[in-house]
Symmetry: D3
Subunit: 242 residues, 6 copies
């Protein structure tokens, strides 16, 4: 039997989403993304040149880094540099963000330059990796617009919008966009990355303790598809207004 959601949402309802563009004026492109209480600072920086292994190919590169401010979670999280190494979870997330963004960028059209995406979590209440992807896409578009305005690019190498959302099974019920309180007691959760045209970029579904049947997998993908469409609409509005 399913139970009401802690914040009263319906199973298929997103938390309130806001995208504040230009949040970090020193960056080529930036956005502060808020999904409920989760807030992430996303920036895109552009560097002429590419890493050594790619030099001379005429192709660009895009890479991402992800971090959490120490106070972003309830109890203070030690900095990576204090522990001496990037923690495994952050490493996984930044690789995911990089793949998500590269999926919509024509790296040939970017030319031999590198886009650095940085996502730094200001407050964490579940779904930080998905929020990061949503904000990073906006930061990327703004950085690309800057390159075009400076005459460095003729047209955008970004093929279409990309966004991500989490879904999960709580009390046996598939639900969209889990906040931390729900996520921590979910039987399974999935992070789904899709494009504006509905193409799948990435699906990462994981059972927690118990396994789950294929029918629920299908239900989760349905929910995510609808949620991502809304998220992409919000991105479009933020970029239109910027």
């Amino acid at each position: 039997m399913s139970t009401p959601r802690p914040d009263g949402r319906t199973p298929s309802q997103l938390r309130p989403v806001t995208l504040t563009t230009g949040f970090v004026p020193t960056a080529a492109g930036s956005a502060l993304v808020a999904v409920g209480e989760t807030r992430v600072i996303c920036t895109a920086s552009v560097e002429e040149g590419v890493p050594g292994w790619r030099r001379g190919t005429g192709k660009g590169w895009l890479t991402a880094e992800y971090g959490m401010l120490p106070a972003s979670t309830g109890s203070r999280k030690a900095r990576d540099i204090s522990r001496g190494k990037l923690d495994g979870r952050s490493s996984e997330i930044q690789r995911l963000i990089g793949r998500a963004l590269r999926a919509v960028v024509d790296l040939d059209a970017l030319g031999e330059r590198t886009v650095w995406i940085d996502c730094d979590v200001l407050t964490a209440d579940g779904g930080t990796r998905c929020a990061s992807i949503c904000g990073a896409y906006v930061a990327l578009e703004l950085a690309v617009a800057g390159l075009i305005a400076q005459g460095k690019l003729e047209r955008s190498p970004v093929r279409e919008a990309v966004a991500a959302i989490s879904v999960g099974i709580v009390d046996g019920e598939p639900r969209l966009d889990l906040a931390y309180a729900e996520d921590s007691r979910a039987d399974a959760d999935a992070n789904v990355v899709m494009t504006a045209s509905g193409g799948i970029v990435e699906v990462q579904a994981s059972a927690e303790g118990a396994v789950f049947p294929r029918t629920q997998m299908d239900a989760l993908l349905d929910l995510a598809t609808a949620g991502i469409a809304q998220m992409i609409e919000t991105q479009r509005e933020a970029l239109g207004a910027s």
Copy 2:
């Protein structure tokens, strides 16, 4: 238009799989798993006690580490320790292996002891993370059998078998168990972890450059389900014979 597979397999055919139990006699449980040219040394070691954060809970723990021997790929891969850090890919894989195995172990029934799973790739030809999970399950069962034989456990905390397989879209066609040559030119690939009873533990699907539609996602999951059933049968035979 689809093309023949490089090794002549049908789209839904696994590579030859062998599981050699007891490959590392110094380990509590061990197996050498070979899936085509991919070979991984899998061991399970048992240590009394659990990490500090879990002490006093009465529950056990299982964790996994994954590495590649430098010569396992065509060109030599530098050791992590020479580069000074665990590479991001290995970190992701070992976290996946740990989650996959924990999904089928009743950690309460294990008691306050730690099972260390080690997967070291001897030769790599695609699908090393899936092969690792398949071999690690066998090593785990053997280690648990040892604990029972020594009177440390009354019955097995392992609930059911778990296995993993990769699937991917090559030339527009969903295919089972990609070797390196196919994997490197796939439009998308997925690693799927499931149990003997058909429960999903983990799905990690990723587009490479291009995105892919939901219908192909569904086809990949179908292929994986069939492949995993065969893999679990092979595990059963290896354990029966050991």
Copy 3:
């Protein structure tokens, strides 16, 4: 002959300062401090217990960490964790912030708990260490107010307000609160930390290339004293309004 300042200020004029309290709701205390284009996220986190070397003394501890978001400067700054070590400048700054705050805290009255100050630079335009100290003091007061509200402390262990400002000699003229453009061509600069009662906590004066006479040292200290008084007034207003 002195020249006009790039932003038209008089030699003894601060940049506009704003202090936004509660910027990071997950922290015990927090403030976003803006001094001209320099913006720093300051948080205070409270942890019961103290480091091992202080255990059993009945005294508390306060320590600070400082970082820069990669996009906070014009060209992207690599994360410490990517370079494998805390850079020397950050290490110096976080030690300074810690000393500045400890100078106004009665650690006996704090009891055996640790306050972690985190200062993360969002945008850097000169004076980030001084802005960090100003914001950190506000975050600290808010965290202490929380401890009192929760009944963990009876009265505040903070003795008085503390603030910091940079001063420097540009074109032979002593000037208050240098922005980056002035700082980078200054003949000398100093960071001064003082309390509300006018006590000196720290003076760090440094020539850049050329040395400077004692008379200018005295003039710099005079300027800083006046600037800090204004800064402390702004802190008082922010705390009054929070």
Copy 4:
């Protein structure tokens, strides 16, 4: 008074030795060496080019790395990367292996290419460094044969065979090829590296707790000389059969 050896060998008797060539097909040359219960995977990889300090000299380079699989000893040994540094013993051993192999290679004749020797211990029962040298020589010969077959070398830069054996004083008696049980209670032990022509490459003799007289040093060298001759015969057979 001397006692019987735990495995019934005479003082001057080697454990059974086997050398399996081609154990790692992805490597240029490889061998699995087993000396009693000690088994080591040895590979030789060839890379065009040399380290920077050697570039432009026309000379080649050979370097070695040594590691132990975590489960190779009875209780699990943490990976170097988990502990954050190469342990001192491994560092010493890999330097020894490198010197041993370089002693029989004409680096001028190798040309500006690098041979990487990797020795990874599968199971450890004493004598792993000596077994590593014996197996590494075989891997090296196979890699060189490959270079000749590919036309990259006209003739072999390997001057002669090299092998190594441990000797020690147990219960006052000099003994050849100590297994772990004997090694751990030896009064002294030595690792000796010699070539097919009887030339000494390296002698590392060490007392453990007590010192030992020169007469025993001489006896140990005599024993080692005989043992190495047998080991070199086994290498010759393995290479002949490969």
Copy 5:
């Protein structure tokens, strides 16, 4: 009420200072500096070429490193390499030494070469950073004299002498050149770096627990000015005799 100093000095009296030139014959320039019981080995090494970011500018570079021998303090201090990182205090000090020396060197006149200053503390009894600067200046002059003797430089790029001294407030009284016993109970201390012509290079003043008034700041600077003049005279004598 002020108290007598532990070693009977007057408030404005330096400890005995000796400078032994040529202490490390393998270095281009070297000195052993002793200030009371504090002794520091200072060397200057010259390397043709500059770091990458400075290449092609025609300018030289000078950088400093500072370390403490483990036995230099009463209780053994672990080496940085054993703890895995340079400690924050050492990092601060070596940056200070570098700035102090660069303040008196015309880097254009040095040409594209790098001077490495190394200061290794043999015994520590307070004031090690100031002693390091005093000794480093002497080592630098000797290294430069060598470059001139070798015909690599026509005239010295060193503009004038530089020295440093600590001052502090103990029992309310400003005192010159604190030894450890006084330093550890000082209410405030300052390190002052000045040149032979009386120019200020650096002032680092810090309260310890309590704050201090501006009048004391002025008194500390007066004391330091007199102390540095004596120190520079000692440097002159040492260089004259060498």
Copy 6:
């Protein structure tokens, strides 16, 4: 045909040796050892307690660390901490020093305390590891004498003196105590550690490029035996005079 030695010594002649006791007054025991141009600062520090793995055994521990001052060799050697890891050679040497000293210490009689030996090379001209052992033994004796004087030990746990010397084959001739110029062109060299009673502690012989026959090994051991006897006499004199 053998050639004269660069410094005119006979093949069996040591360089001048001096041992200055009490060189580092802050250490429990210390000596500056000079062997020709090679000079090493050796200290022994005593810490109550032992490492965790030895706690509760009633036995003491002795461990050694070895470093080179950056300017100790002709061209500046980067600090380990700057390169981020202890270099392999230093690691090997400090393990050797530790074994050499432990061979003459009754760790039971030492009680649960740790002796730290530190050897820091001031100038390097060959034979630094042997000089380190010779000086470290003297530092150890002085530290033990202090423990006895303080009433912490009743009698010395040091069983006898230990010393070390290098020998090598240059131009076909076995020679004692190689300076750098000879060492760098030796066909083979050996480091030999022996006690006052003539017991062997350690022999490390290594060919460089060419191998060497057993007869030369025997000659090297003869030479070393004579050299160590002289070295031990020098230690006795230094300790007698201290």
